[in-house]
């Protein structure tokens, strides 16, 4: 590679770009290097530069004032990057190489220059660390050694910034991928589910002709499972969007009894089939919350409670105000949850008893309920006392106790 190629090598230029430092405010971590270099070399001006496509960009300087950019043709640093070697110029006016070039007669009045190349994390020469003097200097081995040592420090700092930047970019990319995946999941899974549920629904209803009993049984099984898959897709999407903080809660005053009634209504068929009675006892309180979402969370708690309940038993829903907000409890008379599992049930795809296949939950209901409650600044906990489990939703004052019309 000829020297000119080095300077404009696209890989090198990208390495400079990737550092993300050109045009950024001066950073203390680089200023420490240039300040120390100034003292060690005893020069009035030191620079840490990156040589870009069209200029020498000053990333840090001691004594160089506010200069942020030098023309490439007017800088010794360009020569250092081109040659990829240290450059020591004792006296620019006495050096035949520079006497007639703009460098030798630069208006900055540089008489002496000592610079070494800086390599980026990828190994390309990205810029220089250098000292400038207005007097001629006889650079010695100690000066060069100091420059080389301090350039290693500067390179470590360059690499560190790059690593942080890469990590931040990586996190952004992952968040973006998750969003895209979610959007694909929601559309690409719901589309075939639409055809599947539609076709099965029409078949089961006998719209295109009556099916024999065994055929009805088969389409019923297929339809139930399509429904289950469909709920799972909805819940995964909900959970992801809630966890990613993408959901804006629409808080309005709601009578607590309304919120509970909606949830109870949503599980009435399931409760009837399981021969479980849902009893409610809700105080007269109006709460400030996202009614649809809290109602949805409560529905998940109720579904869970009904599933856990033996036939002929009751699920109790109680709601009341407390000193610091609103408390909602859902109590079942099922077999309870092992205390060691009380926290685990809020995880995704965990069930109290994984061998129990008669439960047709998606395994996400409790995780969703907790996420919704926590988005309201509240807490969802579970406890088992003797038989049965009680889930408690505690919503804070901020989300509650706003009596309207009073």
């Amino acid at each position: 590679m000829t020297p000119a190629d080095v300077l404009d090598d696209p890989v090198r230029l990208r390495a400079v770009d990737d550092l993300g430092l050109v045009g950024q405010p001066f950073e203390d971590r680089f200023d420490r290097v240039t300040r120390l270099l100034g003292r060690v070399l005893d020069v009035p001006v030191t620079l840490l530069t990156l040589v870009t496509e069209d200029a020498v960009a000053v990333v840090s300087t001691a004594g160089g004032g506010e200069v942020r950019r030098i023309e490439r043709d007017a800088a010794f640093c360009t020569e250092v990057v081109q040659s990829q070697e240290a450059l020591l110029v004792p006296d620019t006016t006495a050096d035949s190489r520079w006497a007639t070039s703009p460098l030798g007669t630069s208006p900055a009045g540089t008489r002496a220059y000592a610079g070494v190349p800086l390599r980026g994390p990828g190994g390309q020469v990205v810029g220089t660390l250098c000292g400038l003097d207005v007097r001629s200097r006889r650079w010695n081995d100690g000066d060069l050694a100091a420059l080389v040592d301090l350039s290693r420090w500067a390179e470590v700092e360059l690499a560190r910034g790059d690593a942080e930047r890469q990590r931040a970019l990586g996190e952004q990319a992952i968040a973006r991928m998750k969003d895209e995946l979610l959007s694909v999941v929601s559309h690409e899974l719901r589309t075939p589910l639409t055809s599947l549920k539609g076709a099965l629904g029409l078949l089961t209803a006998g719209v295109v002709g009556a099916l024999p009993p065994s055929g009805q049984e088969l389409t019923r099984i297929a339809l139930e499972n399509a429904d289950r898959l469909s709920r799972l897709v909805d819940e995964i999407c909900d959970l992801e969007r809630l966890s990613a903080g993408q959901v804006v809660l629409e808080r309005r005053p709601h009578p607590l009894s309304d919120v509970v009634r909606h949830a109870v209504g949503a599980v009435s068929v399931q409760a009837e089939q399981a021969r479980v009675v849902v009893r409610t006892s809700i105080g007269d309180v109006t709460t400030w919350l996202d009614g649809a979402r809290i109602s949805h969370a409560l529905k998940h708690l109720l579904e869970n409670a009904v599933r856990a309940s033996p036939a002929g038993s009751a699920v109790d829903v109680r709601g009341r105000t407390t000193d610091d907000g609103v408390l909602l409890e859902v109590e079942d008379r099922g077999c309870g949850i092992d205390p060691r599992d009380l926290e685990r049930v809020f995880g995704s795809f965990t069930r109290g008893d994984s061998s129990d296949n008669r439960t047709h939950g998606t395994g996400l209901g409790l995780a969703l309920a907790r996420t919704v409650v926590e988005a309201h600044g509240g807490r969802l906990t579970a406890r088992t006392v003797g038989r049965g489990t009680t889930f408690t939703v505690a919503l804070p004052q901020r989300a509650a106790a706003r009596r309207v019309g009073a």
């Binding site: 959007s183 929601s186 559309h187 719901r190 589309t191 075939p192 589910l193 639409t194 055809s195 599947l196 549920k197 539609g198 076709a199 629904g201 029409l202 209803a205 719209v207 295109v208 399509a226 469909s230 804006v248 629409e250």
Partner: protein, 125 residues
């Protein structure tokens, strides 16, 4: 007189199911097309009583199709209902604010779809 509905959806299977539901359960006449521009074209040639419009379609998507229908005096008054796998609350509100009559979610229950359409369109059974 039997009502005519125009179904616009790029998925042939979804179109088939929607058509069967609207014809057999709803008792309506159905014309279906596979894209936004084809939908606008069909609506201009023979304005239907309502348009059931998919949202995510390649090329001219649901909202773009809706705007095209709005720009043309021949089709501007036809009520449009979105039928979509994208059920984001913000989207739903934005479309309703644009003037869409209703937003129904996919997957749908084919036995209930005509009922839901009647509700949002304000049609008597």
């Amino acid at each position: 007189m039997t009502r005519r509905l125009l179904v616009v959806d790029d998925e042939p299977d979804v179109r088939a199911v929607v058509r069967l539901s609207l014809e057999h359960v709803g008792g309506w006449q159905v014309v279906d097309v596979d894209g936004g521009l084809a939908g606008v074209d069909a609506a201009r040639r023979e304005p239907p009583d309502a348009v059931v419009l998919d949202v995510m379609m390649p090329g001219t998507d649901g909202p773009a199709t809706y705007r095209l229908l709005q720009f043309d005096a021949r089709t501007a008054d036809i009520p449009v209902v979105m039928l979509t796998a994208r059920v984001d609350r913000a989207d739903r509100q934005a479309w309703l604010a644009m003037g869409v009559r209703g937003v129904l979610a996919k997957p749908f229950d084919p036995m209930r779809l005509p009922v839901q359409l009647r509700e949002v369109l304000g049609w008597q059974a």
